[in-house]
């Protein structure tokens, strides 16, 4: 082996280490994040955190019970807005429309919507649902989050519906089932697992969104009643508490961050585990 070849092999091995280090650094960020959250927030995730309301400024103690419930309420609204549009729209794309111009426009619009920064979605929800009524509300926040769920749900559901084998469809139709019946009783159940995980992943994504809530749902130091009042949410609380000058609030912000990220990661891992057992495509 001559010197030149030795050098080339050295470079090859060296670059393997360099790129491997890049990958290691990237992945280690995840563990750093989790580590810091546990370290700073672990001790503050206690019963009070889950059950108490925030205390007045300056007083210590208190929790984020209203924010937890608020996030749950907002996510339910998001599901009500995002899932039907995404699901039925996907059925239209996969079953009724084929690849014509309408399908192209719908898919393009969905991709466009997907790329819109979340704060701009917040502006849109503001002009539609806050400005006319002159107050912040859970509905406006839920609408913004739901809108963000639409493109993810739509494209993923379409992929899973299309992935259902022709043989199943043709079997049902050969037995005399109408298209609607085939869809409802054969195709959707076959794609069910994939669609559910797509919805879960979309939920996990919007659960952490803060920007669109800043001027739609706004925030609330007390319980929010019904759907027409401003409502607290975990992400907004984290933001508010983190930039405030109170140590006690910082402590709670870490705890909230740990809870929020913990939930998001659990849902992600769970959803991917379901999918990999099914062996279907993941967007």
């Amino acid at each position: 082996m001559n010197a030149r070849l030795r050098w080339r092999k050295f470079v090859s091995g060296f670059m393997l280490s360099v790129t491997g280090a890049c990958a290691a650094v990237a992945v280690s960020v995840l563990f750093f994040i989790l580590g810091y959250l546990v370290y700073h927030g672990g001790s503050s995730v206690n019963w009070a955190f889950f059950t108490k309301l925030p205390t007045p400024v300056g007083e210590s103690g208190g929790g984020m019970a209203n924010a937890i419930v608020g996030t749950a309420k907002l996510l339910s609204l998001a599901v009500l807005v995002g899932v039907p549009i995404g699901f039925f729209g996907a059925i239209y794309l996969a079953e009724f429309s084929g690849n014509g111009i309408i399908a192209f426009v719908v898919r393009y619009a969905a991709d466009l919507l997907n790329g819109v920064p979340s704060i701009v979605i917040g502006i849109f929800a503001y002009t539609m649902l806050v400005l006319p009524f002159k107050h912040f509300s859970a509905i406006a926040g839920g609408f913004a989050l739901g809108l963000m769920m639409v493109p993810i749900t739509l494209r993923s559901a379409e992929d899973f519906l299309r992935a259902v084998p022709r043989a199943l469809r043709e079997g049902a139709m050969a037995l005399g089932a109408s298209k609607t019946r085939t869809i409802a009783t054969v195709i959707v159940p076959a794609a069910y697992r994939g669609i559910m995980t797509a919805i879960l992943l979309a939920l996990a994504r919007v659960a952490g969104e803060t920007a669109p809530l800043l001027f739609t749902a706004f925030s609330n130091r007390f319980w929010s009643h019904g759907w027409n009042e401003p409502i607290a949410s975990l992400p907004v609380m984290i933001f508010t508490y983190a930039i405030a000058p109170y140590d006690d609030w910082h402590r709670q912000a870490w705890a909230a961050g740990l809870v929020l990220l913990g939930l998001i990661l659990i849902v992600n891992i769970f959803a991917r585990a379901i999918l990999s057992r099914g062996g279907t495509i993941l967007r």
């Binding site: 991709d111 701009v120 502006i123």
Partner: protein
């Protein structure tokens, strides 16, 4: 659709079956219409969004016109609104983030796609996917309590000592600022660069790599001189995608950039970005012009990400097209 069944007038079963077919078709028709309406609503909502952004910014558009983009002054009291500081801040932090994230991300993607054994590659990709799911506000949390002190105590002083002759690294080190925001943004954007670049690299046809190896290339040579150049348009696409995400990044940036509409050559200077100013001032905006100026900024952000996303998708499609069409007469 005309049926070729001849009907005998008054024959029971045949007219019954015609009615049956009609009902069947109508059921399908109804389903088609309903699902179409849902699908169409996506298009409608998107159009409505653009419309609202346009209409909602009418006052400043008429008052300032294109000058809006070149004015430095942002003075709500005097009702003078200029977008330049925010555009500047957005561009600078994005540039810093890309400078850090692209080499790191591309290196990691190359490792995952070309050099690592399958199991390691899949495990690491799993963690990268989880990283992509971490919300912005959590990065912001770490930014505020971990990165800012780190910058203030160690990194900024060190940069000042070594590279302080450059205007980039001058001025007081507060911990917040363009550099910090750029670093935090880089951390957020790396998973996207890795995921998309990795997919693009994996889509390069096998026989390109094999041809290079068969000529006596080392692993690295076949990767760097053949596979990566083959995938270069797709990799550029991944960079554009990452940039589009970076531009829209709100929370983490708001928490570490300093929130001061300054234009400064120094990366240590506090600044502002388009998304950050909207987030901070939207609920405080008094007066229609103020609010609408913020909406106009939202419109700018929308247009920027729209163009970038479109370009990105085009580039990625071009790479896969090239892989499919190669070698055919």
């Amino acid at each position: 659709m005309a049926t070729t069944i001849t009907t005998v007038p008054g024959a029971g079963p045949i007219s019954g079956s015609r009615a049956f077919f009609r009902k069947l078709r109508e059921g399908d028709e109804i389903a088609r219409i309903i699902t179409f309406l849902f699908a169409a609503s996506v298009v409608l909502v998107t159009l409505l969004l653009v419309w609202e952004l346009w209409q909602g910014s009418v006052l400043p558009r008429h008052k300032f016109g294109f000058g809006f983009f070149f004015t430095r002054v942002w003075d709500p009291i005097a009702e003078q609104f200029g977008a330049l500081p925010f555009i500047y801040g957005t561009l600078v932090t994005s540039a810093v983030s890309l400078l850090i994230a692209v080499p790191l991300g591309l290196g990691a993607a190359i490792f995952l796609a070309e050099l690592a054994p399958q199991k390691i590659s899949d495990t690491l990709q799993f963690f990268i996917d989880l990283l992509a799911a971490v919300p912005s506000v959590i990065y912001g949390l770490l930014g505020v309590f971990i990165v800012i002190p780190l910058m203030r105590e160690y990194i900024q002083p060190a940069l000042k000592r070594t590279l302080g002759f450059l205007p980039l690294f001058q001025g007081p080190a507060y911990g917040v600022g363009f550099l910090t925001a750029g670093i935090v943004m880089a951390i957020m954007v790396i998973p996207y660069i890795i995921s998309v670049s990795r997919e693009v690299l994996l889509s390069v046809p096998r026989d390109q790599r094999e041809a290079a190896l068969a000529l006596g290339s080392t692993r690295w040579e076949s990767t760097w001189k053949v596979v990566v150049p083959f995938a270069r348009t797709g990799i550029m696409g991944s960079v554009f995608l990452a940039l589009a995400r970076a531009l829209g990044e709100t929370m983490a940036v708001t928490m570490v950039i300093g929130n001061t509409p300054t234009i400064s050559a120094s990366l240590f200077s506090p600044g502002y970005s388009i998304a950050a100013v909207i987030a901070n001032e939207f609920t405080e905006a008094t007066g229609d012009t103020y609010l609408q100026a913020l909406i106009e900024l939202g419109l700018v952000l929308f247009l920027l990400t729209f163009i970038l996303n479109g370009l990105a998708r085009l580039l990625i499609v071009l790479t896969s097209r090239r892989g499919a069409g190669m070698g055919q007469t």
